[in-house]
Structures are given as C-alpha cells and as structure tokens.
C-alpha cells in the first residue's frame, strides 16, 4: 500500500537543508530554516479553522453562536457535554450520516462504472464523430453546475423525480472530469491487450470489463477518492431537490441547524466536526490519490 509514502519520501534531487552549494549572502542553512519556518506558520494558519472547530466540540454551542470562535478559550468551560448529547440524543444526526454514506457509496460506484465505460469508447476506438463528442465533454466539463441548476431543477420536477435519491445521482453518472481522467489513463494501455482478447473470442464489452478495468485500479482509486469527497460534501443539488427530512444528508441537515431560531447549536459544531472525520481519515491514508484526483483536470494529454 502506498500509505503515507508521499510525506515520508524525500523528493528526488532534494535533500535536507544545507546540502546544496550556497550562493548569495545568506547561507543555504539559514535560507532553509527561514523557508521552513515560513511554511510552518502558513500551514498552522490554514489549520486554525479545523482546530477551532475541534475545540468548539467541547464548548457550549449557544455561547459559541452568540460570541463566535475565539483564541482566548477558557479551559475551565470545556466539557464533554456535546459528545454525550451526540451519542445519546442526537436526533436525526446519525440518520443523516447513514444517508450520506449510502448515497456516496452508490454514487461513487455508479459514476466510476459509467464514466470509465464512456471513457473507454473515447480512448480505444476510432469513429467519425469522436472529436466532436469529445469537445462536448470538454465543454460540459468546465461549465459550473450553478449554470445548469435551474433548468435541471425544473426538468426533474416535471419528470416527477424530485425528492428522490435517484435524481441526485442520475444526472452525474457520466461525469465529464472522471471521463476525461479515465480516457487519459486508457490511452496509456497498450492496444495489444485488446487484440489478444479479440483473438481469444472475448466481446468488446468483455474486453473492457475483464481485461481493461482490472488493470485500471490506480485510476479507479484516484477517481473513487475524488468523487467520494464530492458526493460526501455535495450540497447545492440536494438542497434543491430533497424535501423530506428523513432523506436529508449531512450538509443539508447541518444547514437546517444553522437557523437564527435554532436550539440545536450544541449539535451544529460537533456535527460539523464529525462530518469531517471520514474525509480526513481517507485523506491521511490515501493522500497521493487525493492530490492525483483533484489536480486531474489540469493534466492535458
């Protein structure tokens, strides 16, 4: 497993501070230390909101909403009350959690399968309208969903699909970014594999499912992570189409807690924190795949 390799492995050509022949007035060691200190400070600033929300899980929710998050945390005011509340009387929280998990797993599986399927068509065959359709993929890829939200909302209402999980998933199964990524990956697979399959009498689809998909595991992993994170955090589209509280996902549910008249602020902060945990764990375990997946769009072939 490639766990944690990215952080532990020194990048090629780069060793610790002070190994490079110096130039200019400040020595390489000094420059290295200044640079390291600077990077650490920036990193800590980036982590402040995450740490603040963690500390917030021990603070009184109403007080937090009224006075905001502060650097001057009173250690004596911290308690485990929110944890007790979350694990004894959390209302619908774990239902949201379960819904989100279910929806994420279903959507990731569907998106990987359908998008890889489509990408395979673009990568492995020559056909007349290929360029045209691929340019359409690129066009659709860069249009933000916000542009489509109203027409799509009207459309699915008329189709009678509102307030279903199907409608959250269906429009995004053939996901342009994922198609693009898989196409790049498939282009690097030698075509001899296909020919060998054909000689053995495997159908075109059999070749895809039985010969190509199994060797595309790294691409599948990167896209599973990327799509998993997107689904887990998905907010706008579910906000438009979900009506029944029992179908709410984590982002939708948490948003309902943030009302001026709310009385569930204890749950808001700890709930937000626990919604981060699965993604954080995945990130710590598979950092390389995260970065590969998220920066995938910039890779031009």
């Amino acid at each position: 497993m490639a766990v944690q390799q990215t952080t532990a492995r020194p990048a090629p050509g780069r060793t610790g501070p002070g190994r490079e022949p110096g130039r200019r007035s400040i020595g390489p060691t000094a420059a290295g230390w200044i640079q390291s200190a600077f990077l650490v400070v920036i990193a800590l600033i980036a982590l402040v909101p995450i740490l603040a929300i963690f500390v917030g899980t021990f603070q009184d929710g109403n007080e937090l909403i009224r006075r905001g998050m502060t650097f001057a945390v009173d250690p004596t005011s911290l308690s485990l009350d929110n944890y007790v509340l979350l694990f004894t009387d959390s209302g619908p929280y774990f239902r949201w959690f379960g819904n989100t998990l279910l929806l994420t797993v279903a959507q990731v599986a569907g998106t990987l399968l359908v998008s890889a399927f489509v990408a395979y068509g673009f990568a492995m065959y020559e056909f007349r309208t290929k360029t045209l359709w691929f340019i359409v993929v690129l066009l659709v890829m860069t249009v933000p969903f916000e542009m489509l939200m109203l027409p799509l909302y009207v459309q699915v209402n008329d189709m009678g699909l509102a307030d279903t999980y199907a409608v959250i998933v269906l429009p995004f199964l053939a996901a342009p970014v994922t198609i693009f990524f898989f196409r790049q990956y498939f282009l690097g697979i030698p075509k001899e594999i296909l020919e060998a399959g054909r000689v053995d009498g495997v159908s075109e689809f059999g070749i895809f499912f039985r010969l190509v998909l199994p060797i595309a595991k790294p691409a599948l992993a990167a896209m599973a992570i990327l799509n998993g994170m997107i689904c887990w955090n998905n907010f706008l589209w579910p906000l438009l189409v979900l009506r029944s509280p029992e179908k709410f996902t984590l982002p939708i549910g948490l948003n309902t807690l943030l009302t001026p008249y709310g009385n569930n602020y204890e749950l808001l902060i700890i709930g937000a924190f626990f919604s981060l945990i699965p993604v954080l764990i995945l990130f710590l375990a598979f950092q390389r795949f995260f970065i590969e997946g998220i920066t995938a769009g910039a890779v031009k072939g």
């Binding site: 952080t7 990048a11 050509g13 501070p17 490079e20 200019r24 420059a31 290295g32 640079q35 390291s36 990077l39 650490v40 990193a43 980036a46 909101p49 995450i50 929300i53 009224r66 006075r67 905001g68 998050m69 502060t70 399927f117 489509v118 068509g121 290929k130 340019i135 359409v136 066009l139 659709v140 933000p144 969903f145 916000e146 542009m147 109203l150 027409p151 799509l152 459309q155 429009p171 075109e204 689809f205 994170m229 955090n233 907010f235 706008l236 982002p251 948490l254 943030l258 902060i269 937000a272 919604s275 981060l276 954080l280 990130f283 950092q287 995260f290 920066t295 910039a298 890779v299 031009k300």
Partner: protein, 298 residues
C-alpha cells in the same frame, strides 16, 4: 445481440451512449426549455410568450446589476489572490532548499481545507468573523490596533470574509496544480541556466513562468468560473440568501432567489441564459487559447 457485442464498428457508440443520453436528458432538453421559458411569463406551469420582455426587465433591474457587480468583483479579487500566492508557495515547495518533511507537512496542511464541505467552511467562518470583540478575527484586528469590526454588516468587510473563505479553501489546491506543472519542467533547463549564471529569481521568471503557462491558463479559467458562479459561500456565511443591502448577493444567488425562492421561472431563466452565455464565451475562448480544439482535431 451477439453481433452487437462483437462489432468493432458499433462498439464505440455503445460505449459513449450513456454520455449522449445524459447530455440529451439532463443538458440539452432542460437548457432548451430554459431558453424557451426565458421568453415566457410562467404561471402555474403555463407559459405565455412575451418576447424579450424578461430581458428588458433584466436590463433595467438594479438588483441584477448589483449582483453581477458583486460576482465580477469577487471573481477579479479571487484571481488576484488565488494565482500569485499559490504560485509563490509552489515555487517555495519546489525549491531545492528546506526540509522535505516540513514541505510534506505543509502540503498536507494546505490541502485539508479543500476537504471540507462549503457548509462546514461557512459555519466556521461565520463564527470566526462573528461580531463580538472576542471573536477570532476581531482579536486579530485588535492585535493590529483597530477596534472590533462588525464584519458581516459592512459591504467591504463582508467581502473580506468571503475572500478569506476562498483563500482558505483553494490556496492548497491551486498550489498543487502549480507544483505538478513545475515538476514537469525538465531539470536540464535549470542546470543550463545555472551554468549561464542565472540566479533563482531569474530562473523563476525566465524558465518556470513561461513553461508553466498551460497550468496558469487552466487555473485562471477555473478561477473565473468559480468566481462568477459563487453562491454557496455567501449563502452559508450569511446563513441564507439575504444579506444586508444585498451586499453578498451574486448572480447565481439572484437566480436562486428568483427561480427557486420566488418561483418567477421566466425571469429567472433569462438570468440563467445571460449567465450561461457569459460562461460559454469564456469557455470557448479558453479552449481556443489553450489550443485544445486544434489538438483534439489533429
């Protein structure tokens, strides 16, 4: 059936069929209907043709122009922040000095904000930019010698909070793009420049920047889209689509207000069409500028 499965000529079309169906059902049909609706007055699902009246109304709508101004202002400022800062950070990480372990920690920490949902980010920043004088940003303000600020009440201070969210969430991601681009530049270029006596700064401007052009164009483009389409950050920060004097209202927010909150579908469709045309124009000029059309056609 057997022939279908084994035909090499038909197979590609069957493979891309799911995309074509998605495109037809969830893109072409809704968008065409939206174009039609933008020329209608829609009441209880019944549309009456009113020509370009919605567009005329849009042209004279002060709130729409305010929302467009807010979106464009936000987009320009995110470009100003989210291209140079990540670029410099990426150059620092890519430099030969410094400890690899610290750089690893730095990259991971910068990436963590991108993992949060806009809901969590909005909740935290709402509390960081709270009004009380003990709230984090007011403690920072006090440290620099000015009094407690009612951040979300003022236009500019509210914008600062929105930009802070953008900066927090996207600096790490953009840095990763640049880093990937930088690591693809052959090291021979730098070695040759070194031999010629070019210092680090000159190398950055004469080797790194020109070779990074495709990545920069890409990051600028996604930032333009992201900026123009911004809605949820404001929606979360102001705990809803209403902000003081509409200072946080964006074009998409206006679309949401008219189309979904007020169900004024004809007018909202016109807003959507204008926005879509704007984005498509940018999109096509980007794909032309980056040479994608030529490359794919070749």
């Amino acid at each position: 059936m057997r022939q279908l499965l084994y035909s090499k000529r038909l197979a590609p079309y069957l493979f891309i069929l799911p995309f074509l169906v998605t495109l037809a059902v969830f893109w072409v049909v809704p968008l065409s209907r939206s174009f039609v609706m933008s020329t209608q007055e829609v009441l209880y699902g019944q549309g009456t043709f009113i020509g370009l009246a919605n567009y005329e109304r849009l042209w004279g709508d002060r709130i729409f122009w305010q929302a467009l101004f807010n979106s464009v202002r936000y987009m320009v400022l995110t470009l100003v922040l989210l291209v140079p800062i990540p670029l410099v950070l990426a150059a620092l990480v890519n430099s030969s000095i410094g400890s690899a372990r610290i750089k690893g920690f730095f990259k991971a920490s910068m990436f963590v904000p991108a993992l949060t949902s806009v809901v969590v980010a909005g909740i935290v920043f709402r509390l960081i930019f709270a009004e009380s004088d003990s709230a984090m940003m007011n403690q920072v303000a006090e440290f620099f010698g000015f009094g407690p600020v009612r951040w979300l009440r003022g236009d500019i201070t509210g914008l600062v909070a929105l930009l802070a969210i953008a900066l927090w969430r996207w600096t790490g991601v953009n840095m990763m793009y640049f880093l990937a681009g930088m690591q693809a530049i052959p090291s021979e270029y730098y070695e040759a420049a070194s031999i010629d006596g070019a210092g680090k700064v000159r190398q950055f401007f004469h080797i790194t920047l020109p070779n990074l052009r495709p990545t920069i164009v890409y990051v600028v483009t996604i930032s333009v889209y992201g900026g123009l389409a911004m809605f949820l950050e404001s929606f979360m920060l102001y705990a809803g689509n209403n902000s003081p004097n509409n200072q946080g209202l964006t074009v998409v927010g206006y679309l949401y207000r008219k189309g979904i909150e007020e169900n004024d579908l004809g007018f909202a469709s016109a807003v959507g069409v204008v926005l879509l045309l704007l984005v498509m124009a940018i999109n096509i000029s980007y794909l032309t500028a980056s040479g994608t059309f030529k490359k794919e056609a070749a």
